[in-house]
Structure formats: structure tokens, C-alpha cells
Amino acid sequence: MKFLEKIVHAQRKHFREGGKLARFYYAFEALETFLFVPEHTTPRSGSVHIRDGMDMKRMMVTVILSMVPCLIFGIWNVGHQSYLATGVEGISCATKMWIGLQVVLPMIAVAYASGLGVEFIFAIFRRHPVNEGFLVSGMLIPLVMPPTIPLWQVSLATIFAVLVGKEVFGGTGMNIFNVALLARAFLYFAYPSEISGDSVWTYIGEGAVVDGYSGATPLAVAASTVGNQEAVPVLDLYEGVWKTGLYDIGNLFLGLIPGSVGETSTLMCLIGALILIGTGIGSWKIILSVFAGSYVMGLIFNLIGLNEFMLLPPHYHWVIGGLAFGAVFMATDPVTASHTELGKWIYGFCIGLLTVLIRVFNPAYPEGIMLAILLMNVFSSLIDHFVISSHKKRRLKRVPAVS
């Protein structure tokens, strides 16, 4: 690698101050540090002399790794749902993957290209290093989009989210809202027809759908009972869905259902959660409390029981819609979540509560987790404020253990 090192380092002089390409220094630096961890050493005084082997790049790569089960399953499921809807049977796993890849890979490429483009342009003009945070956002964005989304909308949403969600606040680490969710929220408000309704969640391709087919997601089916006096229980609707067994609890948990690309499978999200919790990168407190909060709200609704959606057994909320995906990959975003440990419990619990609340009371767009997390992003600093205030008060009241 000495050879490559020489070539790359020989280019440095062009990007240094006074060099021809000096204004692109930070773009060059980002590529250089991608190839080589720099030779920087610790300061000679006033600081530690040795440093831990972990850095931000490796941390972000670990987060991306935790999303890979969701990604691979999601790619396969795009193909699987497509063949289910068109009624073609006996299709091999590889073929389903191939269909999925054709849909999902362009989305990933467009998200990364648009987002990193904005990041590089800002790094060059604002003269700061390119942060690694977008490596995660760029993977999350395609995973929370329906497979039928037009690519230009992916690009536009990504650019909007990075610009307005992050760069105007000062860049990575300063943002208030989760970038990937902001991209999705942007599309929801700007182009609702492409990201809501019953027809966007399954990629159909060239074929024709079978008789009786309905693209309604489990969440949409449940929401359809709200305001309908003659509605039958949601579980009966699930049983009578166009394809027998499609909305069984087992299928819902595995994620063999239509929905956004990466968020249908609770199982895959839990595998991701294991990686995040095992490495200590994601907060288990947040993940656990989101699930707990949604269960509690589900129970409360069971007791009120005004409509059939309220009467849905609470654990169904865990496996329909994007709750699991949001709890594991979005709510745990350390920048936009609460930063105090007690705050994380409250933050996660409120997200769970709000998710179920929004699902039941906003049937026009029943996916509650997106709005719940964005809302709690706003409140996370407030939660921290109260936690810190009580911390300060406690500190003032301390007395010597030994006098």
C-alpha cells in the first residue's frame, strides 16, 4: 500500500493553501481519509498520549451493518410481494432478489449521491471536514420509502432533509430532526399521493394483479375500521385478507407484507437491535421504552374501546407498520434523541405512546412512528432540560458522607 500512499499524498500539495485546488481541500481530505486513517498523533501536552482504536467512521459502519439484515430482507420482500400480487408462483429466491435489487439499488444510489453531494458542497464552502453521519442517513432513507417511489422524489427529499434538516443547523451533531425521517416527512407533505394510500406499497412491475388483490397494508386495514359503526374486529379483517394467511401474526412478525422497503420485518429490526445494543452504539433504553410505550397506549385504548382499532391487541402494534424499524434505527439516533440517561427512558416511552395515539386518531395517514419521532425530536431537549435541572438541584443538596 506504500505505492498508493505515495500517489495519494503526492496530490496533497495541490489542495494545500496556495495550491491550485485549495478550495477543494476538504473534498480531497474526505477521500484521502477514506483510504487512509491519517498519521495524526496526540498532542505532546495537555491531552492524553494514547487514543482508543474506535473512530466515528467505524462507528457509523457498525450502524450500517446493523441495517443490513433489514436491507437484504427488504430487497427480497419487494420481489416477493410483487409476485404475490401478480399471482405468479414457484419463483426462486434469486429471482425475487433480482427484482428487488432493480428497485432498491437505484434508490440507495440516488440517496447517497444526492446527500453526499450536498455534504461535499457544504464542506467545501463552509470549510469543514465531511462528517460520516450521512453514511447512515443515506442508507435509512431508501429503507423508509415505498418501493414505488419515483427516484427524483428520493433525490429531492434527501437534498431537502440534508439542507434544511442538518446543514442550516450547523451540520452533523447539531441537527434537531432525524434526517432520514425528515426526508420521508417532506415527501408525505409535498407529494402525499406517492407515499400514502393503498397502491404504493407493492412494486407491481409489468404484470397484472390477481383478482381480489388489495395493496392495503395491515395498518391501513386497521385504520379503515375507525369511524365505521358496523366494523368487524381488526383481527377478523386480517383473517379475511385477499391472500389467506398474509396478515397472520407470524407473517407480520417476519415481515412478509407490503410496506416501505426495509421496515416490514420486526424480526430483522430485532436482529439490528441486537447489533446496536451489543455494540453499545444504540441505546437499549430507548428501544425498550418505545416498545413499552406503544404497548401501554395499546392497553389503554383496549380499555376505552371506542372503535375496533382501539380494541386491537396491543402487541399487534409492534409488528404492523414501521414501529420496530423506527424504534431501533430512528429513535436511537444519538444526536436527535435525549442525551441524558433518564431522558432516554422518557423520550422513548413518549414515542411509543404517541405512535399508537397517532395511528388510531389519524386514519388519513396511520403511520404514527414517523410523526411521533419527529415530534419527540423537538421535545428531547426539553426533557433533557428537566432532567438536568433536577440533577443540579440534587448536586446542591449533597452532604458530606464523612465529615
Binding site: 491519517p38 495524526h40 482508543d52 467505524r58 443540579k392 464523612v402
Partner: protein, 457 residues
């Protein structure tokens, strides 16, 4: 009080010195470094090049604390006065005599020490040059002789990387140490807290000397920073605004005891030579401020490839292998490899060597947690915004929200700094957090900026 700390981490660094003395070094040059004393702003030299001095003769003082002298650790001739930018005083270099001549100070019988007058004790300590061993909390600066501390804390357990065992550093010095404790009791109306290791083999004579009146013994166990005196203060007698306590290193305490028993400033100390780049990690008997060149002679180091640190890897400062001198408060030299090579795809390639307290893709050091490692000076990454939360607190066994304190410092918010506990911290307490920080921020420097702001306020 017994304290068992859970939070923290012992860095498994290679190169610890076996507990046996490998010779004496008391020749060549030694120096008193003005930079070792944070309170010094306007130093006034009282010697010039060519003057002869005795051990204990004043060399310079700070105009803010005119009583407190900084004195020569050895007798000899002042051969050089080194200055830095803007003629800032750096160090006064002394060429040592073969036989040490001591300036004589009053001496006392051990049993009389408890009856000494406080003003007299302070006067002798200030004149002898031993006063600067007393460090004040908050802020970690030299104690002000005009103040009266609420308590004095001595930590006789060091948990920092490759730290020496105080029972070996103070071997055979029980009487001096005990005399030192008696002197401390004259300085405060409150108690003297002595914290020692909870492991019986590492307690030495400490439990016996702590039987003095108003000396309270504490046993602590746990990973670093369990031995830091700041952590003990936090758990034993937390300080809020307006409180003042003093701290003292056991080796300084021993010198103080000896001063009052013998009437001499005896700067002799045991020094450990440690670290992955040390050919023979060992102990030497030498004196404060000894020339680094002398003590690392046996270690066969290449000055280009090795960093010589006076102190430990977390809080020490690098010194020149040729022209540097041992720091006033230090009794350890650490030799580290300079890792100043770029590492191809170092952020993703798997590694069993790279030590990390974190878990991540390809970091396998956790499979072999007890293996001693050669860790060099590489940053292993670039400085980034604060992203991870709740990580530093795992390495700081105190009820302090460090992330918010650091942010308050960066925002220069005085009220927040105070409310979040800046009075309780100095650099060494958060050094481990800095080591583990994924964002590669220089937390110690940030904290010192905050402390300096509070002091100036």
C-alpha cells in the same frame, strides 16, 4: 469509608516496571520547571547563572504568592536559565555537586509535630519549596497559604496506566510519612482523608499511620480512575461553590515529613521507567527534576521514534529526550512509540491489536482483554462533532453530566459550568473519557479552558 468503583477502565499497556531498584542517579543536571506550577504568572528570579545554591535555596517565586519559594532540589551551580517565547521563564538548570549540601530548616522531634503553630508550619513549608505540593480544589492550582481548607485529601493509590505502587515508592519511609500526616493536621481545622487500596497486599504501612487523631482512612477498589483523589473527594466530601479542600501526593507528603524531622529539603524520589518502548522497565532512585537524558540512557531509545513522557500516558507531558527534565509532581517516565504513519483503510479493516473499550465492526481486542498492548501515539481517527451520548459517563465514577459540562464550557456559560460541577473536576479526572472518546475531542484542554475562565471570573 470503603468505596468500590464500578465505572472506569484499566488500560492494558505494556511495559510495567518490576518492583526493584536498579541503581541511583544523582549526577549531571537537574532543573526546576516553572511550567509545572500552574499558578505562576509573573515569576521573579532570585538567582542568576553562575550562582551556587544549596538543596532548598530559593530560585524564583511568583509575585502573586511572594511567600512561596521554588527551591533547588540539589546543591550545585546554576548553569542555565531557559526562557521561551516572550521571555517566559521555563526552567532553571542546576549542575549538581557530588555531595549534596542542604540548607538547614528547623527540625523537630516526631511527637512535637502535633503541637506546632500553624503559621510556623506554613512559613517553613513556603520557605523550603515544598508548599507547591499542596494543590487546591477547585481548579487544581497551588494552594493559597492564606486560606483555610475544609479538609485535606491524600490518595495513596494510583490506578493510572503503568502506575507505581506507593508502598514501593515509600518503602522504608513510614516515619517521614507519618510526620507528614501530623503536619497536614496542623493545616486544616477539618480532617485529613487518606485513601488507600482495598487490596491488603497493596496497603503497606498506611493502615498503621492512619491511626492518628483526625486522620480518616478510606479503602477504594475498582478500575481507573478509582485512585484519583478528585473521585474520592466527590464521594467523601463533595465540594460546592465556596468550599475549598487541598490535596497532596504521598511522595510530596513524605518530603514534607522529612523536612520537619531532619530540617532538610530532601528531593530524593524513586522513579519508574515504564512503557512499551522501554527496553528495561525499571525503578531508579533519583531526585526531583532530574535530567531525562540521564534516566533513559539505559533504554536504547531512538528519539525520533519514541515519545518520552514525564508522568503517565493520560496526564503527563512529553519532554525532550536530550534536554528535558522530570516534572516536579512526577515519579514516572513513560516511553511510547510515535505512530505517525497513515493506516490503509484503518477505519474498517479488522484488527486484533487495536485496543478499544468500544465494540464495533472489526474491533476484536475485547476477545483478549488482559493482553498487554503496545499502544502508540496515533489518534486513530479525526476530530468530529459530539455524536455519541452516555459514553463518557461510563468512565467517570462521579455524578456529573460531563457532556453538558463540556458544552457549557464551550458556550462560556459560567452559571451552567458552576451548577454542573466544574469545581469538582480537573484534567486527570476526565483523562480516561478523553482516551475513549470516539469524537477524538481534546476534553482535558477544554476543561482547563473552563477552569481558567472560572478562575478569572
Amino acid at each position: 469509608m470503603d468505596i468500590n468503583f464500578k465505572r472506569g477502565f484499566d488500560i492494558p499497556l505494556k511495559g510495567s516496571a518490576p518492583c526493584q531498584l536498579d541503581g541511583k542517579i544523582r549526577e549531571g543536571t537537574c532543573a526546576v520547571r516553572a511550567i509545572d506550577f500552574r499558578h505562576i504568572t509573573r515569576p521573579k528570579l532570585v538567582v542568576s547563572v553562575g550562582d551556587t545554591v544549596k538543596a532548598g535555596s530559593p530560585l524564583f517565586f511568583d509575585r502573586v504568592f511572594p511567600k512561596v519559594q521554588h527551591t533547588s532540589p540539589a546543591s550545585g551551580e546554576v548553569v542555565e536559565i531557559r526562557r521561551g517565547e516572550k521571555r517566559k521563564l521555563l526552567e532553571v538548570v542546576i549542575l549538581m555537586d557530588k555531595e549534596t549540601n542542604f540548607l538547614s530548616f528547623p527540625s523537630f522531634a516526631a511527637e512535637k509535630l502535633s503541637e506546632l503553630d500553624r503559621d510556623q508550619v506554613i512559613d517553613i513549608l513556603c520557605r523550603s519549596g515544598l508548599w507547591p505540593h499542596l494543590i487546591q480544589r477547585p481548579f487544581g492550582v497551588m494552594a493559597d497559604p492564606e486560606t483555610n481548607p475544609d479538609a485535606i485529601f491524600v490518595s495513596a493509590i494510583d490506578t493510572s496506566p503503568l502506575a507505581s505502587d506507593y508502598t514501593f515508592l515509600l518503602d522504608g519511609e513510614k516515619d517521614c510519612f507519618q510526620a507528614g500526616l501530623r503536619i497536614l493536621r496542623r493545616l486544616t481545622p477539618g480532617p485529613v482523608h487518606l485513601s488507600i487500596s482495598g487490596i491488603p497486599e497493596k496497603q503497606g504501612f498506611f493502615p498503621e499511620v492512619a491511626k492518628e487523631e483526625k486522620v480518616i482512612l478510606h479503602q477504594v477498589t475498582g478500575p481507573h480512575p478509582a485512585g484519583n483523589v478528585g473521585v474520592h473527594i466527590h464521594h467523601i466530601r463533595p465540594i460546592n461553590k465556596g468550599d475549598i479542600v487541598w490535596t497532596l501526593d504521598p511522595c510530596g507528603l513524605r518530603q514534607i515529613g522529612k523536612l520537619f524531622l531532619k530540617g532538610q529539603y530532601d528531593a530524593t524520589k524513586r522513579l519508574s521507567i515504564t512503557g512499551p518502548s522501554a527496553a528495561h522497565p525499571t525503578y531508579l532512585e533519583t531526585i526531583s527534576g532530574i535530567s531525562i537524558k540521564k534516566v533513559v540512557e539505559q533504554q536504547q531509545i531512538d528519539p525520533e521514534a519514541v515519545r518520552v513522557i514525564s508522568g503517565n500516558v493520560l496526564t503527563g507531558s512529553a519532554v525532550d529526550a536530550e534536554k528535558g527534565y522530570l516534572g516536579f509532581h512526577h515519579h514516572q517516565i513513560t516511553l511510547l512509540p510515535e505512530e505517525n504513519r497513515p493506516e490503509f483503510l484503518g477505519w474498517i479493516l479488522p484488527s486484533f491489536q487495536k485496543l478499544s473499550v468500544h465494540r464495533g465492526v472489526g474491533l476484536f481486542s475485547f476477545l483478549n482483554p488482559n493482553k498487554l498492548r503496545e499502544i502508540g501515539t496515533n489518534m486513530h481517527g479525526e476530530a468530529r462533532a459530539f455524536v455519541q451520548t452516555g459514553a463518557w459517563e461510563k468512565f467517570l465514577p462521579m455524578d456529573i453530566l460531563l457532556l453538558y459540562l463540556i458544552k457549557a464550557i464551550l458556550a462560556e456559560d459560567y452559571d451552567e459550568m458552576e451548577a454542573l460541577g466544574i469545581y469538582e473536576l480537573i484534567e486527570e479526572d476526565i483523562a480516561l473519557c478523553e482516551f475513549t472518546d470516539v469524537s477524538k475531542q481534546n476534553l482535558q484542554m477544554i476543561l482547563r479552558e473552563g477552569i481558567d475562565l472560572m478562575r478569572a471570573d
